[in-house]
Symmetry: C2
Subunit: 464 residues, 2 copies
């Protein structure tokens, strides 16, 4: 007899079907002469209700063993359920306990636990309703991302995790070394670390972005995307920051900012639609238990054309806004979260794409506009979360790019290969970056980003 | 007019269709009054032949600009091709050059370059036929992997890259730190690094495997897999080693070694089949130009049931083999590559799964057999490459696992959470690991593993 997944049984199971299930006990109700056991195998939020009858073999022993957390295999027959809340249930014929979970010591007894507490038992928290739902949605998001790009002929490219480029200026870097930190070798003058002796023959870091290497690949395959881990050694102990997180970065040759915005909008809509279709039960759960706006937000994104507005126009609207912002609004200053949320939530009531930011607040690789004051950047601001995607058309002109690097204090020689892409067969190209955990956080309404990645890495914490 | 991908035009394009293409010049042939330009956009190995006619605007200028490596957009009409080698070609109406590539300085002129040379221009090598084919096959492999697991209800789980566990003993570790290596803080006694001051409050490393964390997730979701980067700080300058590589690690609850072998066999067959179907042109190219056995090897894997044999029986066969092995064969010693290849290539002439290795040569987490001498390990040996997959049923018994850790000199307290999985609802479970680059190398026949990852990281080398 094949083992069936509970998600499939709950959906397609018919009365009188004989089958085997395997999973973990969520709850037990011991009634006179029979017992209800709720079994979960991680395939869905809902459990399958199993009915144990006093006539079955080893009934008393089983009942003692089948506490919350115990693992079990049950053979039985599906029957229509008398109780409310489920269509069918499993009438057990035999059951086999694989592993018990002592009610005295198992930390996940049936009660509400705080997410803070659950973080301390990161090896068990996925067995709860909330984290089960989070990681199913996370998987669906990831699958939707690959599907979106693969259907459009984009290649998934693996850009390097360890890098010797430290010139992107995107944040603080982790050092990667094979030195024994107790005896770091020094140069002969004894005044500096002798990096030539390190594994890679020089300073090496964990990547902060795969964009520059993705540009290399786009100059050969036209359309590519990265989906991999990136790192920031920022000492930010907030609910929005992780030291290790996954990022998605598509890069398209022969593409300008309009094409970039079109792709980003279609991308976000696809991912939300896919998750709403494949994880509807989990999404309902978030809406009921975590944040009662998540379904409305998802629908808002799926069903609206995104507003498009320049930074300059956005500043004018913000200056006129009947709101007292904490941070000043003025042309040349970056938008703060409160400004972004005002635009998306109050003013447009849907996602908005702000374009053409001042040169001074954006990265060197963004294409300079003819006004010489702004660059072809775009940020997508979503209701409830603020910036969810940041992208740009890249500077494809060798001379302009070189000047921009110099004016930002970067040495063009350090990125000789990046400049070569402009020397040989350069093309207009564009791309964007999406922080994957921010997306999952946004989608599920989870308050802390540490609760949407299985094993969060944050200052002073890298457990499991 | 929509831009069409060249792979689509070559397959589905019909005479008289008007269309736009964008790509890079591979070759130019200047004939009297017209010219043939071969354009590639990375979507396929084959180029699209474009015919420029002397009557078109700016003909002389275009001809001067359209050298190998230049980027171009062409509007034109498809016509049946007179030449051999292609069904259709594009009669250009107008063409626009985006970026030139000076024939004096562009390194990728039309001639055969060594892979060693191409590694020094890793930012350009993807524009060659060989690397174009490699990275399309790599993408197809990756897509096939996700497809295989997602169709079976496995969740893709992201296990941590930065870890504080150093107790797996799987190889040398890279240290991750936010210290300035010139001033590593010392403890008050000045005799050791004060790791408490480091970012994560302790020693931290780059992961060598996501397996232990995948087991955590399998104990909640039943079936999961990792697909992410892993690291080894081994000073191995060989054609088979990378310091940074991607690994695939499925983990299944309620699964024994038989289920593990069944899954691994179906998995390999699926991936090869998918690549043969979706990248047939690239695979033909490898067979013709790189290794004339790659198609036969792929067919061998797809069409054969894998041989299954215990280590003990394999040793007996090797001892009887009419071959002078360089390394000795004796029960208790690990199999060397020559032994593995003899079994798969000479003896079985198809993939073979060797099981139940001696305890002493396998990791602590593999399930101890009743004979107390062997563990429930399995290695899949493939013709031409040797070991391609290694897996095991995991030790799910708390007492046995604890003893095994102690006998291998590991401190059970360091992996308290791993032991908790056996304390609370333990189940038989199993999984395997596949080195992704080894798979791509095997599939394409590329001689050096540095040539199947876009930006290889090896001793003294982490460029781009």
């Amino acid at each position: 007899m094949m083992t069936r997944r509970i998600v499939d049984i709950l959906k397609n199971g018919q009365p009188d079907e004989s089958l085997t299930i395997q999973g973990w006990v969520r709850t037990k109700r011991d009634l006179k002469g029979f017992a209800f056991i709720e079994i979960n195998d991680g395939s869905s939020l809902s459990n399958l209700q199993v009915v144990l009858n006093a006539e079955m073999p080893e009934y008393e022993t089983l009942l003692k063993q089948l506490n919350t957390g115990a693992s079990v295999e049950v053979d039985g027959v599906l029957v229509p359920s008398q109780g409310k809340g489920q269509r069918i249930e499993l009438q057990a014929k035999t059951a086999k306990v694989y592993g018990e979970a002592d009610p005295e010591t198992y930390p996940l007894q049936k009660k509400r636990h705080s997410f803070e507490f659950l973080r301390t038992i990161g090896h068990l928290r996925s067995r709860t309703n909330s984290f089960g739902a989070v990681f199913r949605v996370r998987n669906a998001c990831a699958t939707a991302i690959h599907q979106f790009f693969q259907e459009r002929g984009f290649l998934w490219v693996h850009t390097p995790i360890i890098t010797r480029s430290d010139c992107e200026g995107a944040g603080e870097l982790f050092t990667v070394t094979s030195f024994d930190l107790n005896k770091v070798p020094k140069t002969e003058q004894q005044d500096d670390v002798d990096y030539a002796q390190d594994f890679f023959g020089g300073k090496a870091y964990l990547t902060v972005s795969g964009q520059l290497e993705a540009e290399i690949m786009a100059m050969a395959f036209s359309n590519v995307y990265t989906f991999g881990p990136t790192f920031r050694a920022e000492n930010s102990n907030t609910s929005r920051h992780l030291a290790e997180f996954w990022m998605v970065e598509p890069e398209m040759a022969f593409c300008d900012l309009h094409g970039d915005m079109d792709l980003a909008e279609a991308f976000l809509q696809h991912v939300f639609k896919y998750v709403m279709e494949t994880c509807s039960e989990d999404m309902e759960f978030f809406n009921q238990r975590i944040d009662d706006s998540v379904l409305a937000t998802a629908e808002n994104i799926i069903n609206n054309e995104f507003e498009r507005i320049t930074y300059t126009d956005a500043i004018a609207l913000l200056e006129k806004a009947p709101v007292n912002f904490e941070y000043p609004v003025s042309w040349g200053l970056d938008l703060q979260s409160e400004h972004e949320r005002y635009l998306a939530e109050q003013l447009f009531k849907k996602p908005a794409i702000v374009t053409d930011y001042p040169t001074g607040i954006k990265a060197f690789y963004m294409r300079l506009n003819d006004d010489q004051k702004t660059v072809r950047a775009m940020d997508i601001l979503a209701p409830k979360i603020g910036e969810i995607i940041g992208g740009s058309q890249r500077e494809e002109r060798l001379d302009v790019l070189t000047q921009r690097m110099q004016s930002q204090g970067l040495n063009p020689d350090d990125l000789w290969w990046y400049l070569d892409l402009r020397r040989f067969g350069t093309v207009p190209h564009a791309g964007f970056g999406l922080g994957f955990e921010r997306l999952v956080q946004f989608m599920t309404g989870m308050g802390n980003i540490r609760d949407v990645i299985p094993f969060p890495r944050t200052p002073l914490s890298a457990d499991f």
